[in-house]
């Protein structure tokens, strides 16, 4: 579960904001595609940046299920904990 204010949430905000239009505020329910207009290519770049930052691998199988920012936080947390 994403918790606004925790360190992981804040770190991911910092990364994702770079890919988001300036006027959009990130919340757990923000849609990565619909609200942030992150297309498939930008999504791949975003995932790689997150992988590098946290030293994890996020399989493509999981990426296709990501809808909201909360989904992303949950997947990253799951991969960090499974290291």
């Amino acid at each position: 579960m994403a918790v606004e204010g925790d360190a992981l949430y804040r770190d991911l905000c910092t990364i994702v904001e770079k890919y988001a239009p300036a006027q959009v505020e990130l919340t757990p329910t923000t849609e990565l595609s619909g609200d942030l207009n992150i297309d498939s290519v930008a999504a791949m770049d975003l995932i790689m940046e997150i992988e590098d930052k946290f030293g994890i691998d996020i399989p493509m199988n999981l990426v296709s299920d990501l809808r909201s920012f909360q989904d992303l936080v949950d997947v990253v947390r799951q991969q960090i904990e499974g290291r």
Binding site: D39, V41, M44, D57, P59, M60, N61
Partner: protein, 407 residues
């Protein structure tokens, strides 16, 4: 809600491209005049976007073989090999590919796209891990997805990134399969296969190399990037296509693995599709003979590649990768790329327009591919027309800047 609503954005973007002129993704070649020329919109046009690297599509022996095969075997096979049976020439071609690549076995597919689908989904399963280069062709992406394996991308041509990821994934999955290409189709850059091979050995992983754009192009015998870099023994599976250097349609997978042929009963893209048509199989058999007996074709290809690379560089174009038969010219943005592509077509030069998301790093490209069949005069003419368009583009961009400034 309409079924096609989900494509509204794509359709809108396509409509915008059409406003600039012709449809870059639907060009009609009214008459193909040779391997390097066609009549398009009533204009004789030099083709510089065909991937016809060795120029064999109109080779007299290849054409004669295809015609003879149609007369002897008919126009099509009307079904799959597991249901309708294998033709003798299917076996003959598989033996030729295995011999050429010095592999124990080879199996053919009706298209190159299906070759990757069939090989990847056949080789890897839900308990395996595939590590694929991020700039891989769509057929590799689709094959990986179809396999059900855990699919992890590593940074393009980055052995260190592959190494790190394999280190992290050591305890996961039954088998690891690394998937790379010899030459990458969009930019024409080559994979550092020797470094990948060293990593593969260290982790006990398998290595598959797609030589679609490097077969007939690289290596002393034209076997591809693995031959050129001396690491063929480290390559567990080779994938290739007939629709580039070999001048036909189809694809193949080849391997030394003793159980490789079990894929004939486990790879759905092989089992449940109509088998390759006799004309393609026969012309490819001839094309292999041409490759073996006419090494000068490869020399012509590289001479032409160098001439075009130098010519476009001299004209001030930004080329994305070191010289190869794929010469990808980078344009600053989509509008310029579409505009320049149209002007080239109007000037009788056909190249491929490649736009994001189909390109690495979201670059906009005029992608050229050179053929051994291009004459020096054609290459000179292509360079001259590119330079003319560059001058016009420069004027167009200045005019646009003035308009923006005034607004």
């Amino acid at each position: 809600m309409d079924l096609f609503d989900k494509y509204a954005l794509v359709a809108g973007r396509h409509g915008k491209v059409l406003q600039a002129g012709a449809d870059p993704f639907g060009v009609c070649l009214d008459k193909v005049l040779s391997g390097t020329e066609a009549r398009i919109n009533g204009r004789d046009t030099i083709l510089v976007g065909t991937n016809n690297y060795l120029g064999l599509t109109f080779d007299p022996d290849c054409v004669a073989s295809a015609v003879a095969a149609i007369r002897q075997h008919g126009t099509g096979t009307t079904g799959s090999r597991i249901a309708n049976g294998t033709y003798g020439i299917h076996r003959e071609l598989e033996a030729e590919i295995a011999r050429f690549l010095d592999r124990r076995s080879a199996m053919i597919f009706p298209t190159g796209y299906q070759a990757n689908l069939g090989m990847l989904a056949g080789l890897a399963g839900p308990r395996d891990v595939i590590l694929m280069d991020a700039d891989s062709h769509s057929s590799i992406y689709d094959g990986c997805r179809l396999s059900g394996a855990t699919v992890v991308r590593f940074r393009h041509n980055d052995p260190d990134d592959l190494d790190r990821r394999l280190g992290r994934l050591q305890d996961q999955g039954d088998c690891k399969l690394i998937v790379v290409e010899g030459i990458y189709s969009m930019l024409g850059d080559r994979a550092p296969l020797a470094e990948f091979a060293e990593i593969k050995r260290r982790y006990g992983a398998y290595l598959l190399v797609d030589e679609a754009h490097s077969l007939g192009v690289l290596g002393a015998h034209g076997r591809g990037a693995a031959e050129e870099q001396g690491i063929e023994e480290d390559v567990d599976c080779v994938v290739g296509t007939f629709s580039k250097s070999l001048g036909a349609v189809g694809g193949f997978g080849a391997s030394n693995h003793p159980n490789f042929d079990v894929l004939r009963f486990c790879s759905r893209a092989y089992m449940y599709t109509a088998s390759s048509c006799p004309s393609s199989v026969a012309s490819v058999l001839s094309a292999f003979r041409q490759m073996a007996h006419r090494p000068e074709l490869r020399q012509h290809l590289w001479d032409n590649a160098e001439a075009l690379y130098q010519g476009l560089t001299a004209a001030g174009f930004d080329i994305c990768a070191p010289m190869s038969p794929i010469i990808a010219v980078r344009l600053p943005d989509e509008r310029s790329a579409v505009w320049a592509w149209n002007r080239l077509l109007e000037n009788g030069v056909y190249v491929n327009l490649a736009l994001p998301p189909g390109t690495p790093n979201a670059v906009c490209l005029l992608r050229c591919s050179v053929s051994a069949a291009h004459t020096p005069a054609q290459i000179d003419e292509v360079c001259r027309r590119f330079a003319k368009v560059a001058a016009e583009l420069s004027g167009e961009r200045s005019a646009e800047a003035i308009r923006v400034h005034r607004a």
